[in-house]
């Protein structure tokens, strides 16, 4: 139990279960932008884009705004917050 907390951390469980995103769909709509192209434009690695799309990583507020800015879309259309009791 303790080891599980040390390795996973509570915050990571929350991060992957409560925030969904539409990045894949938005990339497709933006002339099928590749993950690498998006990564270069928001100055992160392609692996980070992959992790965000899979819901394995919740980006910082700044990166979330940068992503929304690239797609010229409001933030709440890129990321969707679903409280735990509704998931």
């Amino acid at each position: 139990m303790v080891l599980k907390y040390i390795i996973t951390g509570k915050e990571s469980e929350m991060a992957s279960s409560t925030i969904q995103n539409n990045i894949r769909k938005l990339r497709f709509e933006a002339d099928e932008m590749t993950q690498q192209q998006l990564a270069d434009r928001v100055r992160v690695s392609r692996q980070t884009i992959v992790a965000i799309e899979k819901g394995n990583y919740s980006p910082s507020l700044e990166l979330a705004f940068r992503l929304a800015h690239i797609f010229n879309t409001p933030l709440d259309q890129v990321f969707i917050y679903e409280p735990e009791d509704e998931v």
């Binding site: 040390i6 390795i7 996973t8 951390g9 990571s12 991060a15 992957s16 100055r43 992160v44 690695s45 692996q47 980070t48 992790a51 899979k54 819901g55 394995n56 990583y57 980006p59 910082s60 990166l63």
Partner: protein, 148 residues
């Protein structure tokens, strides 16, 4: 496998290699009677300082070799940029290694209180230092694969 995962594996292997080789050399000298680490504690200090120096130099060399081999194998000349996710993964790895080393320190002190020979404290420091490093890099690999 991402660049960071490969780098963490190289770190684990190089940490193990350097520590084991250095420990064998020190142990052989101890057997040959060049010094007595069960009595001469100032020698432990010298050995630790030499180990830090040797370890830093060896790791730099291993990292350079890793970069060259990785560049040849993947044909990517640029080292990937370190972004916010990498920093978070590193921080969590460091936190886990801190837990491991602190546990080792407490166990060593408890052993000392229960009558364990003093030189074993230094040996346990080395062992838990190595375990802490493995946990640091191992947990980073875990976070890269399973998510932060």
């Amino acid at each position: 496998m991402s660049y960071q995962e490969k780098q963490n594996i190289v770190n684990i292997l190089s940490g193990l290699l350097i520590t084991v080789i250095y420990a064998i050399i020190v142990y052989q000298r101890q057997i040959q009677g060049r010094f007595d680490l069960t009595e001469d504690f100032s020698k432990w200090g010298i050995l630790f300082l030499i180990f830090i120096g040797v370890s830093v130099v060896a790791r730099i060399i291993i990292q350079i070799i890793f970069h060259i081999i990785n560049a040849i194998a993947t044909r990517e000349e640029k080292t990937p940029i370190e972004d916010e996710r990498d920093k978070l993964v590193k921080l969590k790895g460091t936190r886990n290694s801190y837990y491991a080393f602190t546990s080792g320190f407490v166990l060593s002190v408890m052993g000392l209180a229960l009558g364990m020979p003093v030189h074993w404290v230094f040996i346990l420091f080395v062992v838990f230092g190595l375990i802490a490093e493995i946990i640091d890099n191992g947990s980073q690999i875990y976070y890269y694969r399973k998510g932060v």
